[in-house]
Amino acid sequence: MKIRATQAIMECLLEQEVDTVFGYPGGSILNVYDELYNYRDKITHILTAHEQGAAHAADGYARSTGKVGVCFATSGPGATNLTTGIATAYMDSSPVVFLTCNVAEPYLGKDSFQEVDITGIAMPITKATYLVRDAQTIPDVMREAFAVAATGRPGPVLIDFLKNVTAPSVEIDYEFVPWTQNRRLGSIKALADAHELKAPEPNSDDIDILADMIAQSEKPLLICGGGVVRARADKEFRELAEKLDAPVAITVMGGGGFPGGHPLTAGMIGMHGSQASNVACNECDLLIAVGCRFSDRVALQPETFASQAKIVQIDIDRSEIDKNVLTDHHIVGNAKRVLELLNQRLGQYSHPEWKEHILPLRQPSIPRVSEQLTPKQVLETIRRLAPQDTIVATDVGQHQMWSIQHFHFDYPGQLLTSGGFGTMGFGLGAAIGAKMGNPDKVVVHTTGDGCFRMNCNELATVEHYKLPIITVVFNNGTLGMVRQWQHLIYHERYSETTLDRGPDFVKLAEAYGLKGFRVTTQAEMEKAFREALSAGCGCVIDCMLDMDEMVRPMVAGGAHITDFLLH
């Protein structure tokens, strides 16, 4: 069947069961948007305030639903505005397909208006990039892009269409193939054939070896990493933890992979990790890390990390093995499948003394005595009033660490945070994506005054699409995390971190047509949050906090994992 090239782009989205896309139009992508107009009943387009917001929204949609996110942008500045969002998705292995259009073939490479080599720019921050110069290749490229984004270790992919390829006069041969049936066709087949790919299955001997190591261990520790979340392997991981009867340390990206309130939870591990997790890491004799790449925020000092333990790494990406921390054994595979096979081989273990030694150490850090509203009070209020399955999107910094420490995440996709790239301004976009993907769930966006100022323009999107997202601003008038470092390490030289400036976030919310609240006590917070929950529209709660609040505990970068700078 002959159809328009742009029609094929839309049909290929439908093949992938895409019903929501995020984006921003412009000159080069006009033809695609013109076609989208024909498909407006089938594909909902969310117009954000800025391309970066669209990128984060598509990312948040992907993280919270487990589906592939889709984001549109035009050439030049539209495309470069995506880059922070692409890098954020890449560092946290989030599957997003970015579609951009470039100038037409005759203008390519001539520094034409709004021209940029986006496939070149995006190369280091994507799994793959495609430049489409021939309309006939559209179905192949689209199908391959979605397959690459979603399979293996997930990640972002970028497709750049030349404008002439999308011209209304261009027609191509096309046949609709649902994504479940396209894996043995065209360029996907060519890719699979070139690599001689077989249906993936973890190495059975490797799993036997781990089962033996477990049998010999007296002090095992499990680390729940982002791979558990991406593979939606929470049930299998929980079964493993319970069979092993071992404490579980959770990374920032692993939030939601193991229930935060489970009796085996030792808490977060790493720089702001709990004493239980960090001490367990230092004293265990077997460390099993699932979907965790031992980033420098977890393995602060790689050479002494878990120095008494045999280290076992389970990861889908072979290049992560022995990258940051040298391991004794590894299993390459999808966390869900590896754990399924491992659990079949394991009996019930019991480690009462080891647990008794570690788990009591997870008591919360000592709160600072303050007459002002504290972060803890804010978070406790949210936790008490919001439904247990509330999705939490954070920005980056102190409020992010506090949010992860205080909330209990129970399922993959409940916590949306930029763990790898540490992108300030990620939260609001991500919350928009999450709300679009999970209309029945409450979505709370926690942010700081520094982060919020970066991308608060997306409040326009929140208002326009009537998304009842609750933004809670931890307003301490400073870039809190940087200030904390300046306080502890830079001799209280607060260089350019004090944010003694506007806007008034309550008035800002109102200017965008949303509700704003300013709270200075826990009672006010409770009242405001209750009201926000039932408001039916986006709300901003501006929580006035002391600027000297710190994230506790803390281990300095590069220091030994139990060498706490703050308790």
Binding site: P124, L131, E144, L191, R318, S319
Partner: protein, 188 residues
């Protein structure tokens, strides 16, 4: 058991088999610049298989760094195989064209003699110059170049090192590591 690495810095040769898709060479080369390592030489050419290109890269470093580079390389979707080749188990050659000043008969005779000793060939002659083509190991090219410098080397064009394993084993051979990396590429 944890892996142990040889920390002495030396030249490593990486043979990389890639699918010939647009941008693949810059994708591979980028990995080296990302870590701030200089590529000593890089050669890219066709293979016996259609659509498959072989890239040979020589880089100086220690084993930790080389295994990281190889790992990042293997992870790239168009990369089919990466093999670290050492001098013992592989044959490594390069090809060079050297344009030498040789204005008088004496100089010309000497350069021709020298080329013969090195089993190099004279491939172009002019009134003032000779162009020598030499094929062999890098040391051999370097030795000839040093000798020719006495006459005045006007320019050199080199291919960089290409390498192939000795004996029956090839870069196509299946192994566990290939299987493990394929997990990350599995689009099925």
């Amino acid at each position: 058991m944890k892996k142990e690495f040889d920390m002495t810095r030396k030249a490593y040769t990486l043979s990389i088999l890639v699918r010939d898709v647009p941008g693949v060479l810059s994708q591979v080369a980028r990995l080296f610049s990302r870590k701030g390592y200089n590529i000593e030489s890089i050669v890219s050419g066709e293979t016996d298989r259609p659509g498959v290109t072989r890239i040979t890269i020589v880089v100086h470093g220690d084993e930790v760094m080389i295994s990281q580079l190889a790992a990042q390389c293997r992870k790239l979707i168009p990369v089919l195989a990466v093999k670290l080749l050492d001098e013992k188990s592989s044959i490594q050659r390069e090809f060079a064209l050297i344009k030498v000043q040789a204005a008088d008969r004496n100089a010309r005779d000497e350069v021709i003699q020298m080329a013969n000793i090195f089993r190099a060939k004279i491939i172009d002659v002019s009134h003032e110059t000779l162009t020598v083509a030499i094929f062999g190991e890098r040391e051999k090219t370097d030795a000839l170049t040093r000798l020719l410098e006495d006459y005045g080397v006007l320019e050199i064009a080199k291919t960089g090192t290409i390498a192939i394993e000795r004996g029956r084993s090839t870069i196509y051979d299946d192994n566990k590591i290939k299987e493990e990396y394929n997990y990350g590429k599995n689009v099925l």
